[in-house]
Symmetry: D2
Subunit: 376 residues, 4 copies
């Protein structure tokens, strides 16, 4: 039930059937109808930002278990006049009546139970939680500390790291959207690893994230007075993104890969930087590497390879779906240093989810995602 506001093109999801009819006559009938479960988290509200400008998708329902019945602008006044809607409750059958595709921006442990119910209704699902990323249930349970999802549903999940697995995503019914750290890590490491230029046993990943990565739930760690003017390491060797990274690197390397992975909280809202180290298997120059990476990502506009010796900064991708990568081979140590940056809320969550929607539907992968980084 959607309608375009005549004055300013904004979306009113509380419209009547009448105005809906009007809307259909305006040619929106062919748009794919999407619903967002978890609309009051940062991933959910970022999905809204991008989908409002998507020419081939329309939001038909914004859903929140905790705030059902309330206007979405109660929690997000920045949407005043842009998205006029009360939040719906989580009811898979009702959702399926309205939507063709459902984004589940729900916490780990919730998705594992909710997604099977959604898939049964016949809707397509793009899940932003970590619940369907780990193929080995025992590994999942060891790192996530709760029950793995149903094996059969898990098998259906296509891991949607678009630039690597894009071909698998086309036509998929159920996509598991990658984690924020794994996205930055894997896009940075895979070209060198798949070319055999680095030693898989030597990989160390020093990851840094803005505070929005911790979500909208309040805690002492994310309290402004605690994390402002502060830099904090956390979950060293224990982050649940480690098995996701290792599973994918293992697949590329063709042998078991174990990594050292450290996470830090940086006093900024958005942005992830992964600084990665590995032993080079030969004397490759920066120019060799630039050539390798540019060829690897040819035709994939969201990965930008910097000139050798120029380092990307997180602000240079702020608010956008880009992943920027720089690197330097060091002849003194024989090591390669790779720096990759993303906006954790976009390429690390909502943006890549929409990129997956595009690939799933057979659209150009940049559809609705061509926003430049916001700078400064």
């Amino acid at each position: 039930m959607t309608v375009t506001d005549q004055v300013n093109g904004n979306v009113n999801l509380n419209a009547t059937a009448n105005s809906d009819a009007l809307e259909n006559s305006q040619g929106h009938a062919n748009k794919v109808k999407v619903a967002i479960i978890g609309s009051t988290g940062y991933g959910g509200v970022e999905l809204i930002r991008f989908l409002l400008g998507h020419p081939q998708a329309e939001i038909v329902s914004v859903i929140s278990a905790s705030s059902a019945g309330l206007p979405i602008t109660d929690g997000f006044p920045h949407l005043t006049g842009i998205l006029v809607s009360d939040l719906d409750g989580v009811d898979p059958v009702e959702i399926a009546k309205k939507a063709d595709v459902v984004f589940t921006a729900t916490p780990s442990g919730v998705s594992s139970k909710l997604v099977p119910q959604l898939l049964e209704t016949g809707v397509k699902v793009i899940d932003l939680s970590g619940d369907f990323r780990i193929k080995d249930s025992s590994v999942y349970e060891a790192w996530y500390k709760h029950d793995a999802p149903d094996e059969q549903v898990l098998e259906q999940a296509v891991y949607g790291l678009c630039e690597i697995n894009g071909d698998d995503v086309g036509g998929a019914e159920f996509i598991s959207n990658p984690g924020c750290y794994p996205t930055a890590t894997l896009l940075g490491l895979i070209p060198a690893l798949s070319a055999g230029w680095i030693d898989p046993a030597s990989i160390i990943i020093d990851a840094k994230s803005g505070v929005s990565g911790a979500g909208r739930g309040t805690s002492l760690m994310t309290h402004y007075a605690e994390i402002n003017e502060n830099l904090k390491a956390y979950k060293i060797n224990k982050h649940q993104h480690i098995p996701e990274i290792e599973q994918n690197l293992t697949q590329i390397a063709g042998e078991p890969v174990t990594v050292t992975f450290t996470t830090h909280l940086v006093p900024m809202t958005r942005g992830i930087m992964c600084t990665m180290y590995a032993q080079l298997n030969g004397t490759y120059t920066n120019e060799d590497l630039t050539e390798l990476y540019r060829q690897y990502y040819e035709g994939r506009p969201f990965v930008r390879i910097r000139e050798a010796g120029q380092w990307p900064a997180t602000k240079e991708v702020f608010g956008s779906n880009y992943c920027d990568i720089g690197f330097a081979a060091d002849h003194r140590t024989g090591r390669l240093t790779i720096v990759s940056v993303i906006d954790n809320v976009v390429k690390g969550a909502a943006g890549q989810a929409i990129q997956n929607l595009n690939l799933m539907m057979g659209w150009d992968e940049t559809t609705g995602l061509k926003l430049s980084p916001v700078y400064p």
Copy 2:
């Protein structure tokens, strides 16, 4: 000379005539051609961000006096793969050969000399400096401390505060884009002032701005270690936006208005908040005020009036062209408090300049400007 990159829709201004022909055949021929002078400042680069997504305008030249000949990505690597162009020099005749409309995001004192030359070539101009805002040259010189522009050119300038002067902007050849502080101040005060509900002699404006308002030039005041975790008052009673505010309030009130105006630098990149105080001429309730303001701005989607007692925050307009306004009448003191917020780089500069382009060309004023605020 522009061409659409086939792969990702990005803009390459270094294209050959050949590809240009190609591009024309793609139906871009009818777009209005725009040039941006001052492309390496924050106002200029924000014009680029919005114009890249504008369906009826295309950037044909990005111009910088200081960096002519260099790729724009040297200074702004976030545009890598998005805008491929070397910066052009400032040559009015050459600019006029390419462009229909020129944005001059040049410093005060530069625009006053450059704009007359541009107008002579027949292009339309939207000037983002303060040089053509003050109609009384002696007032201009007292506050700006340098020579006023040519009187005849000054007379042609239409002050482009869109929601107030939109009708004058339609069809104009030369628009003077309002200052950032005056935009937030005037949009907040004018409904109450024009209704006669507040005493013009009692107006006090306490303004706060993010640091990008000081421009990209380096200085000790904008050094990170000096202004981070700091709040600083500056130019009290001396800011050059005072006469701009007073000129416009005087016009609305029909009597000379003098204001107290204080500016503060806040440790954030973007955003302006003006907290304004005035004596009420009667016992108006918050509901009366909400009604008054909503009626005043009916049909103007970029001004959003909050429910009485709800206060807008700068982040709620971050990266967008909105101006959000809240207010409270206080029966204890008989005063009205008004809070208005804008993103200084958007509604306070580049966004309003594009809104002026839209009105000037007779397009919907929201064209190319429908980006939601980036939150969080």
Copy 3:
């Protein structure tokens, strides 16, 4: 029960009786023994920072209702190796056995009940809550929305705005420490008001605070991703510091004073700036004002009057007990603008509380408080 660690001079409150005896022999016997209730809040932990360096006071107990029994370093690892102590519970009788003076850094509504019990035991009390600042109980209840404290106890409370009421503080048994906003406001306004230079009916206070002012409790408003890169007005005309300001200005003016008072949250941890406006009663120059203010605060080292036209910034008092004041008379409007800044955790809370301890005990008011601002 305290002992000086021989190696590094740090304090171990878990010491045995034996080491205590040792300690006494070192000449600490004459120090005043202080306890801090509410040691796990920002006011409490800042009291610890200053008292550890106080030559005439020693901390004998750090107390927390919520964390009793836990080491204080669990919540505040920055105190590792500096203050070795488990938190004590709130037991007035036990506290009185150890301490001569108790700081109650407890929430409003808690202090009102706790302080009478403490006073009964004979200890001196310095209360940092707002519970004993408002002399008229009906006014208190109207703004604080809960019961006023016992009238008899309330009468004993001396309002400890040191530079104004210092003489009353000397020898007092029970001091009510001023609020953060009132401290900055009153120190800025009182010299001009008491001289009759400004119109008491015209006072408007635009106040801005860092986020630590909201305390250590978590909330969406103080969540990093919400308030970083944001500026937010709150509680306009409704802040409970309004009656505290008005009560004191009324006393100075000798007539009822009502003020307009607006509060804003600024994305920084520490610091308050009050920008204040009032109508001048005559044509005073900035030099007149400088002279007036310097005379008023002669011999009071913690108030620093800036040269006319130089504006204090919050970072210039960061971490210190100073209140810096600047001002400008504006001949165009006949108004005076006053800017005062403090560190809300120091002069706005813990620092002033220790200054009150000093005055109460007859010591130099700067004892233990001579730390320079931390810059940058």
Copy 4:
């Protein structure tokens, strides 16, 4: 020429001979007289903050090549009423007449020429530049890109990493104060390296610094709008602190050590975190490591070893001279991760310089440095 201001104990370096005599009679005659060259940089002004509270040293001259003759409060108004002094010019002979010890907080390339002149006058020198840290002049010139200092003077320089080389510092005439990154790195690595528990060939250091580390000079990189809400890698494999780290690790290991070292700029003012990785030579537990580190630093109060699995944050040492260290051995990878944090302006510069003064003079190393971290 110093005198204690009678009212508030602050320092007035512009005093007359008369007041100087007075001062001497107050018993300050035995204090060591210190001068600070480079008083208008962040290192210099932090020396002032700590020396003002140092019981055995007194500042007799604050010196600046660029601002000689101006009051120091022109550039640093936070010192208003605290340090009343005009800046002196750089004249080694004049300095030697006043001072016993000189701190040279001068840029690299300046110190190399200035220090020999100072030493010739017979004063003791503590140099905060990098000019005298590298013992091999060819290595110095390769990394610093300018001429090495005179060999004979270089030989006199004692590298003042207090917790490691403290014994050499006692009685030294000329100390080269360590760099900020090397301090955090070396204190974190040396216990494990000297015990032979880690492989010297496997060391990778991922370092992050607040923006004050770049000094007070303005640049685009330190412009607030550029580095706020940003995280930026820089000088990868090229930082001039690399040879300083390698020289010291080589000395400890007894074999040539080459490291991978990456630096990042973090949007905060103060703080350095070094996250370090090395291959373990055996199956050491976290408890083994805690024991090793605590023994190594026994009796050195400024190094604090955290419980295994607890990670220090930069804010926990803000404004103080502490270096906090945490670590985790990872059985999956056989690697050790070490996290060390310091305040770059204190333990990374001015604080350690004063610690060196203390050791040089035979005083307790904590003298004047017992300030707790400022939290929050």
